[in-house]
Subunit: 361 residues, 2 copies
């Protein structure tokens, strides 16, 4: 492996340590190298805390002079919660900078590179760009589309049912697949479900490790029906629950829910009076959520896919046949000629199940 | 690669040349080797024609003395349509024999090996047995279960529909997948559909190459409704069409169909008067069909899987979503606890689609 790639991989690894804590900021890692040795490294640990480059430069001290910096995102050029990193890099006497990708944030977007170049620093852009873009796809999406990256997870039988006719869905997929899902939860800022799932399962939507990052738990609750005794409102992580609703009548209920620590986002209704999903996603982005893992049932999945609000699909196919049951998507009906088109990206066996990954075409 | 494996692979390759023509006999290839050179080879070309070993021995002539024989099935020990091969091997002076698998046919089933060993020949059994069993799975099944090996093919959308609500299914899957299916047809003795598919599509069910082996086209037609003008009755391959029916009333229709060259198999009805599928499969086996590729719709697929008459599943998942449509299986409804259990064997991308292979667990 090329030595530049090696150091950038190290920066990407460091960046990932901030997963869950940096949103709506990106995950960034920085490695400062001199004479083929790391003389400083750092990562963006949490929203509002110093940027990755700062830690690396501080660690290196005097040695930073003449060193090479590897960072997976363009250093910032603007005075934000911290002073601009581009100036810090110049002042430290760093002579060469490798950057994976330009920061899509309009306040940076090439300015960081220009400032460095104007100061006589050699700048290379594009090293491991694909990996870097994938890592920060939530952030990029958030900046470019003003809504979170949405991953739609579905677990269905070979004949396309997510539950039997009685509504039972525990468990369609295997423990291996469920562990994968639990792990995916910490790769997103928020998990999202609808009230169908909340009423049926009273889910906790927590990751395996409850001492680390706890993603937000977003409930789509059009008319604020959620009973306060349910887990998402009453468990120890209730401050990580966000209820999205159209209702603005149930003042007493809102008061009670907020009192129990839950957050409420009011969004406009669509023409039927239900949650306007695109607007709800914008609200989530404003709230600081850059990626959402949808674990909802037919209704949430159907609404998301029909409205084009899906960036990634994780489809589990269990080796089971029901003959009849609850379909994966509800709420629409297409002819073969007007079918919603997807694109499969890859497929793998996952325990006894199959996991297909894809996206909207 | 081990030299013995190399020669046995050669024998297996030769065996495959008989695909489609040997049923209900197995596909067998034989390679005779001396001083690391092939001195004779052969394969079973067609039911009723000489066995593979005969050709190899004839080719080698005098040189067979002291040679080593590689054959993917135990040489026969009984006087059948041809004299027993075991004796021919002994008479030719062959000194060593490698065999992939014992012939499950009760008239052989180890007797061939015993005869060879009694004559002082060194016999090795089990070389590339997995490959050999896979090649002749139809034959083995036919001998052991008295019914054909049944491969169930389904092509469905991501949400499990084989057609849209109007019944349109052309085309759920891509041309790459359809080509794969056309190729699979020549790997089976027969293609099978129900009257739903016949009425809807008027299919020809032919392989790409119409100059080679044409598999039987089996139609499940409970009450003999097939219109004589349809392709399966009227095209140039009508003598390769087998209509399975319960009906014994429509004498005139039977006469007309037989007159047009089609074959008719009468089978008993089940308690509802429909085709008794297990009995129908036995009848097909008696007819000489050792493997069936089911390309039927929901009803045929549902009946087969519910009755446990599926040995291999080929499930195509197209990157399309319909929301509503015609389900993959009809005729039954299971709870999650009593779901029909499958086992996935492998999965691959096939053009834009995904192909999952599996079987009943």
């Amino acid at each position: 492996m090329d030595k530049h790639q090696k150091w950038m991989r190290k920066a990407l690894e460091l960046a990932q340590k901030g997963r869950g804590y940096t949103s709506p900021n990106p995950m960034v890692g920085a490695v400062l190298v001199k004479d083929d040795k790391i003389i400083g490294d750092g990562y963006h640990q949490k929203f509002g805390r110093p940027h990755a480059e700062v830690g690396a430069i501080a660690q290196a001290g005097e040695f930073a002079k003449g060193a090479t910096l590897y960072v997976n995102l363009e250093p910032c050029s603007h005075e934000g919660k911290t002073p601009p990193c581009a100036l810090k890099i110049i002042n430290a006497g760093i002579s060469e900078v490798f950057i994976s990708m330009i920061d899509p944030n309009p306040r940076v977007n090439g300015n960081g590179v220009r400032i460095l170049q104007d100061a006589g620093i050699t700048v290379h852009v594009g090293l491991l760009e694909t990996e870097a873009r994938h890592l920060n796809r939530g952030f990029i999406h958030y900046i470019e589309k003003k809504r979170p990256w949405i991953t739609l997870k579905m677990a269905q039988t070979a004949d396309g049912y997510i539950a039997d006719v009685s509504g039972k869905s525990k468990w369609i997929s295997s423990s291996v697949a469920r562990e994968f899902v639990m792990n995916q939860r910490t790769h997103h800022d928020a998990i999202m479900v609808g009230m169908g799932t909340v009423f049926k399962d009273d889910p906790g939507l927590l990751p395996v490790n409850r001492d680390g990052f706890i993603p937000y738990r977003v409930v789509l609750d059009d008319i604020l029906r959620i009973p306060p005794r349910l887990r998402l409102v009453s468990d120890e992580f209730h401050h990580r629950t966000v209820i999205v609703t159209v209702s603005d009548e149930k003042k007493q209920k809102v008061k009670q829910l907020i009192g129990s620590g839950v957050q409420i986002l009011h969004v406009p209704g669509d023409s039927f009076g239900w949650i306007d999903l695109p607007k709800a996603m914008e609200k989530l982005a404003e709230f600081g959520i850059t990626s959402v893992y949808s674990e909802g049932g037919s209704q949430v999945a159907g609404s998301l896919i029909q409205q084009g609000l899906v960036d990634e699909i994780q489809l589990f196919i269990a080796p089971k046949v029901l003959g009849e049951g609850i379909s994966t998507f509800s709420g629409f009906m297409k002819s073969l000629d007007s079918a919603i088109q997807l694109k499969w990206d890859d497929v793998q066996m996952l325990g006894p199940d199959i996991l297909i990954r894809g996206r909207l075409a």
